[in-house]
């Protein structure tokens, strides 16, 4: 049997295990391990006497992978970005942000909903993996909106959609994971997420203002805040600005003279938020909970990382990724059309799968194919299919798939953000939230089309960084 056939059989088996509900990390690890044994024994021509030798080699190869793969400095960004989000929560930054946003911008049509969007965007700037953003804002923002007569489904939709911003606006654990899988510059990817994230927030805000001017489902503007009240709302939200500035200096290096690495930036941001949380009353009991929660999410993510990397190690021996990109590039279709098909594939997959699991499982095969489609890893912009150099294509595709994964958080049937919002509110059903989120769902589809049609939105900032 050819290694490539073994690669296909094992990948098919992996898919079955995942569908049957086996934990993704272990399904991938098991597929990788079984694949390694099979491939090795195949190399021994299925000689029964050498079966255990094949097992022994595979056990050792698979067994060194977890330690080998997690011991990388760049991966330390992930736990730090997660810690920052939990500490920000205990520092009560969510409420502070919402109050400040309300006092400063609620005077526009659809004011409270617009304030909610910008508060979630602001929280996204200190939260690296905010599964909790939607849950927290559902409890802060929805009651206030309902009080002044918002349609409850619409109010819930705003929160569910706003909750998706955290993964594009840096810090973002999922962008770090993408960067590591495809071996691209982490700083540039984080930088690239900024404008599409802000762009999405602005599209949401514009949409709300538009709806507010036409329909009555959206509440009236909320004015009457004095300048004094406005300025008083700023200090509690101040750590956000401190963190944003620090991240700008560490990740974006605006003046050339770098302060340090993104990890260090994240760590110092976390330190500032930590001090703020202490000041706001966090004590050992809360800190312990924050640390346990951080550890849990971190371990969950890393388990998928090393599990999938055992599978990837097997793929390397089976030469499957190379075969897949040969196949993709041999298709008689325009590269752009193929790319759109791939994105649509992610839209379908994302309905049923968790974002990180989805990216980790598919990227080892899909990413080389996309790069090959563009003309290779080292292609120049002039010779490429999508009009951008290899590294730029890697960044662009990363932002597209992450936006796609976020999009799936609000699509039926398993849009997790909608379930979370409905879960917090006894008076809301999941159907209500899906109904309320529909306009944002359409806006997101339009945003993704824009990012595909005008890659400049994604690539402008990272191209400035040289």
């Amino acid at each position: 049997m050819e290694p490539i056939d073994i690669g296909l059989w094992v990948s098919g088996g992996l898919l079955v295990f995942v569908l049957l509900g086996m934990r993704v990390a272990f399904a991938a690890g098991l597929a990788g391990f079984v694949g390694l044994v099979w491939l090795r024994w195949n190399g021994f021509d299925y000689d029964p006497a050498r079966f255990w030798k094949a097992v022994e080699i595979s056990v050792k190869v698979a067994g060194l992978t977890p330690h080998s793969k997690v011991s990388a400095q760049v991966l330390s960004l992930i736990p730090v970005f997660i810690l920052i989000g939990y500490l920000a929560y205990y520092a009560k930054l969510t409420t502070a942000l919402f109050v400040a946003a309300k006092r400063w911008i609620a005077w526009v049509p659809g004011g409270l909903a617009v304030s909610t969007v910008f508060a979630t965007a602001g929280f996204a700037a200190v939260s690296g993996a905010s599964v909790a953003t939607a849950a927290v804002f559902a409890r802060i923002a929805i009651p206030e909106m309902l009080k002044i007569g918002y349609n409850k489904a619409f109010a819930a939709g705003v929160v569910a959609a706003g909750g998706t911003l955290a993964s594009l606006i840096p810090p973002s654990a999922i962008l770090v994971i993408y960067a590591i899988i495809v071996e691209q510059d982490v700083g540039k990817l984080l930088l690239a997420g900024f404008i599409p994230g802000a762009f999405s927030a602005i599209v949401y805000a514009g949409l709300i203002i538009g709806i507010a001017m036409v329909f009555k489902t959206v509440g009236p503007p909320v004015g009457g805040f004095t300048w004094r009240e406005r300025f008083e709302s700023l200090p509690p939200a101040l750590p956000i600005f401190a963190v944003v500035i620090i991240i700008i200096f560490f990740v974006y290096n605006p003046f050339g003279d770098a302060w340090g690495t993104p990890t260090e930036g994240g760590a110092i941001g976390a330190f500032i938020i930590f001090l703020m949380a202490l000041y706001r009353g966090m004590r050992w009991a809360e800190l312990k909970r924050a640390l346990l929660d951080t550890a849990k999410l971190t371990v969950m993510i890393f388990t998928i990382i090393w599990g999938v990397l055992i599978y990837v190690r097997f793929l390397g021996f089976a030469e499957l990724p190379a075969a897949f990109s040969d196949w993709i590039t041999s298709l008689e279709m325009s590269p752009m059309l193929i790319l759109i098909c791939i994105l649509l594939g992610y839209a379908v997959l994302g309905m049923f799968m968790d974002a990180i699991g989805m990216l980790l499982l598919t990227l080892p095969v899909v990413y080389p194919a996309v790069m090959a489609l563009n003309g290779g890893e080292y292609v120049s912009a002039a010779d490429s299919a999508f009009g951008m150099s290899g590294p730029m294509c890697a960044i662009w595709f990363g932002i597209l798939v992450v936006k796609m994964a976020e999009f799936c958080l609000i699509t039926p049937p398993i849009g997790l953000n909608c379930f979370v919002v409905a879960g917090v509110r006894d008076d809301l059903t999941v159907q209500d939230v899906f109904k309320g989120v529909t306009p944002f769902f359409i806006a997101d589809a339009a945003t993704i089309a824009m990012l595909v049609a005008f890659p400049g939105i994604v690539l402008w900032l990272p191209s400035l960084a040289g």
């Binding site: 295990f17 098991l30 391990f33 760590a267 640390l291 371990v299």
Partner: protein, 209 residues
Amino acid sequence: MAGSAAVLEDSSLLSRLDRALLPLERFCALLSGLAIFSLMFLAAYSVTGRKFFASPMAGYVDYIEAAMPIIAIMGVSYVQRDGTHVRMDMLVSALKGRVLWFFELVSVLLILVLIVALTWGAYEHFDRSFDCARPLCSRDSSIDIGLPIWPSKLVVPIAFAILTLRLLLQAWGYGRALVLGLENPVAVPMNLSVAEQARLEAEALEGND
């Protein structure tokens, strides 16, 4: 993202073993959290030293790499106990009773096979870097300050060995549920729908702002 779920308890031996293992698992997870917390201070210290005192910290990268296995792997069993590891639960959430316990049992047994293999492989990886005939028992060292790597490699088989115990308990739990046709078995994560999980996740945040 699958949220964590409840694990039922009673006075049976299985449940008592489950609760006996839990403090060890929680301690390991807390070690991971504390390592992340130290990372924060380490970075703050390193940047301050470099930026303001022109004395960068020697071996900064080596220390971080040594801490990563504690951060990333030490808590793996704690996360398995309440079913936080991600999975696609479309199918299993539609199943009930013996069929469900059968699927869960098979799944846990397959994971057990993998983890036993990985415990062995990870131990071998540690063993290759460990030789007490040498200074500090080191047969593999870090790149800058020559830190022995074996302690960090040893973290992995230890974490996996604890996970092996956890998986044995879960296999027992599901096996018992399958044989006895139980409705609410102890010592295994209860299967929750997406909506129930979301509610739990939201409740976990109650009273904190």
